[in-house]
């Protein structure tokens, strides 16, 4: 920070005011209000009624919430394994190949599709009389039974997200110093050994960022579930974010919905904190 005196302009506060007011009014105030509502019974019509921790007590033995927690866990673990893990594999296989860019094109194309576009493509593939059933010669209800439906959606998500993760890893791989790799090669390291003991440690900072972003995003999975199953059938493919939306706007139980939102925030915050602490160590 500079020690020079502030510039005296008449409108200094006027200049930050629009930003501060927008952020305070549309982000901070709603955030705090939701935190307050999570301790109330509220249907949007009658004024909120303070009920203490009752909503949070209800969370603990709500079967729908348990399902949502389980599905969210599948999303988190699955995201690490597939879009991130497979993305790393494709990046490592292709980053120093001649014409590597061309090998990666198929993975980048799906990234152009938005959430709703993604559903447009995959619904006719996964539906009951759809292309996947015909192709595999089976009769599976991919989007009906749990946990198949969550796993099917995870695969769709992988199809879309692999490319961008690959791209991030490739950027990282291409920017690591060449000297240690050459030295290790001369010492006879190759293949898995070279990757595990030389390349992997060198790319750790980038991996930390990619994994961190994927962790937070997967905890908040909403769009893809909403466009493919709306959390159903029944409630069996809901994630925490979908449960929050349904409890609030389908069941009109605003107080309870707010408590789910608070829980989602706490889980996300805690996971990020623990993850960051591990990274910093």
């Amino acid at each position: 920070m500079s020690t020079r005196a502030p510039i005296l302009g008449r409108f200094r506060y006027g200049y930050v005011a629009p930003a501060a007011l927008l952020v305070a009014g549309l982000l901070y105030v709603p955030f705090l209000w939701t935190a307050y509502l999570s301790f109330t019974k509220y249907d949007g019509l009658a004024p909120p009624e303070w009920v203490g921790l009752r909503n949070f007590g209800k969370l603990l033995d709500d079967p729908a919430l348990l399902t949502a927690l389980g599905n969210t866990l599948i999303w988190v673990v699955g995201t690490m394994a597939l879009p991130v893990g497979l993305g790393l594999l494709v990046a490592v296989l292709s980053y120093d190949l001649k014409g590597g860019v061309w090998y990666r094109v198929p993975f980048m194309l799906p990234y152009a599709l938005s959430g709703a576009g993604l559903a447009m493509v995959w619904s006719p593939i996964l539906s009951h009389d759809g292309i996947a059933n015909i192709l595999l010669g089976v009769d599976t209800a991919f989007l009906q039974k749990a946990p198949h439906n969550t796993i099917a959606m995870l695969l769709v998500w992988t199809w879309q997200q692999l490319g961008v993760n690959t791209l991030l890893f490739v950027v990282g791989l291409q920017s690591i110093p060449k000297a240690p790799i050459e030295a290790a090669r001369i010492d006879g390291a190759s293949g898995w050994t070279l990757f595990r003991h030389v390349i992997w440690p060198l790319m750790a900072p980038l991996t930390a960022v990619v994994v961190g972003l994927a962790l937070v995003a997967s905890l908040k999975t909403f769009d893809i579930v909403w466009v493919l199953t709306q959390g159903g059938p029944g409630r069996n493919s809901e994630t925490l974010a979908v449960t929050m939306y349904k409890d609030t706007f389908v069941a009109s139980d605003y107080g309870y919905g707010a408590s789910v939102a608070v829980m989602l925030t706490v889980v996300t915050g805690l996971a990020s904190f623990l993850y960051l602490r591990r990274q910093v160590r």
Binding site: S2, A5, P6, I7, G9, R12, Y15, V16, P18, A19, A20, L22, V23, L26, L27, Y28, V29, P30, F31, W33, T34, L37, G44, L93, S94, L97, Y103, V105, P106, L109, P110, A112, S114, A116, G117, L118, A119, M120, V121, S123, P124, S127, D129, G130, I131, I134, K220, W226, V227, Q230, A241, M244, Y245, T248, F249, Y254, A258, A261, L264, T265
Partner: protein, 269 residues
């Protein structure tokens, strides 16, 4: 050799659905048959399918509203964020760092924490289901990132530029508008593109804060068509719609790729 083989096999698997999308989006709407989905049809009906998609569910009105949101909100957000960054860094606002933390802190709230109060508050204020209401929330969501990037950018700009302009008697506003803003075009553009894409693809705010077809953003409108394989919409029409709504972000990104790469090397003028 094994590496190439693995990449080719995986790549072919990935191309499968992409191929299905392109072939079937171009198929005449009535002739879709899941067991023949892999065979290209003789005729090219992509544009017919797109125009049918636009007619159904007022998608064209929804598309126009979405274009409005995703252009105007990031523009306002970027300007407001840049002005805040300029004031904090160049005008050396007292307690500037705390102002910055306040503004940037807005990024950490998951949107789920905002929905109920926004819905109730918007209903009370008559902003629910209005274009103005959506513009407002999209602008607010964009401000923190813009303030972050532009604050970084402006702290890399030589202070003597400001002093010289001051000597010449320019007002602080004029210096912002005529010097700092033009200097930061590449950073502004990079933030604009990220935010355009974010708003164009937004589902949850549109879902929560709108109702009528012409106010509703296009992603939300499309998601509404979705229940049980498009609820009667022919598959080729749905695919054409999906392709059409994905196009603007792709085109914008391709058109500005170089600017984007430059804007992301932030702070270096």
């Amino acid at each position: 050799m094994i590496r190439r083989a693995v990449l080719i096999v995986l790549g072919l698997i990935w191309l499968g659905p992409t191929y299905l999308l392109l072939v079937n989006a171009a198929r005449p709407a009535a002739s879709y048959d899941p067991s023949k989905a892999w065979q290209p049809s003789g005729s090219f009906a992509l544009f017919d399918n797109i125009s049918r998609a636009l007619d159904s569910a007022n998608l064209s009105d929804s598309l126009a509203s979405t274009a409005l949101y995703s252009v105007v909100s990031p523009m306002l957000g970027v300007l407001i964020g840049a002005l805040a960054g300029y004031t904090i860094v160049v005008l050396r606002l007292r307690h500037g760092f705390w102002w910055f933390l306040l503004i940037f802190g807005g990024t950490i709230f998951p949107s789920q924490m905002l929905l109920v109060p926004l819905f109730v508050g918007y209903s009370d204020l008559g902003l629910y289901d209005t274009r103005g209401g959506l513009l407002l929330v999209y602008t607010a969501v964009n401000v923190p990132l813009a303030a972050f990037v532009l604050r970084n950018f402006y702290s890399g700009v030589a202070f003597s530029i400001f002093e010289a302009a001051r000597m010449d008697g320019a007002t602080t506003w004029r210096i912002f508008w005529r010097i700092y803003l033009p200097l930061s075009v590449s950073a502004l553009a990079a933030v604009f593109i990220l935010e355009f894409t974010f708003i164009w693809n937004d589902l949850i705010f549109g879902l929560t804060l709108t109702q009528t077809e012409d106010v509703r953003p296009v992603m939300t409108a499309l998601a509404g068509l979705m229940t049980d394989v498009y609820a009667g919409t022919p598959v080729p029409v749905g695919l054409a719609a999906g392709l059409m709504v994905s196009l603007p972000t792709v085109l914008l990104f391709l058109a500005t790729q170089r600017l984007f790469a430059r804007g992301l090397s932030l702070g270096s003028v």
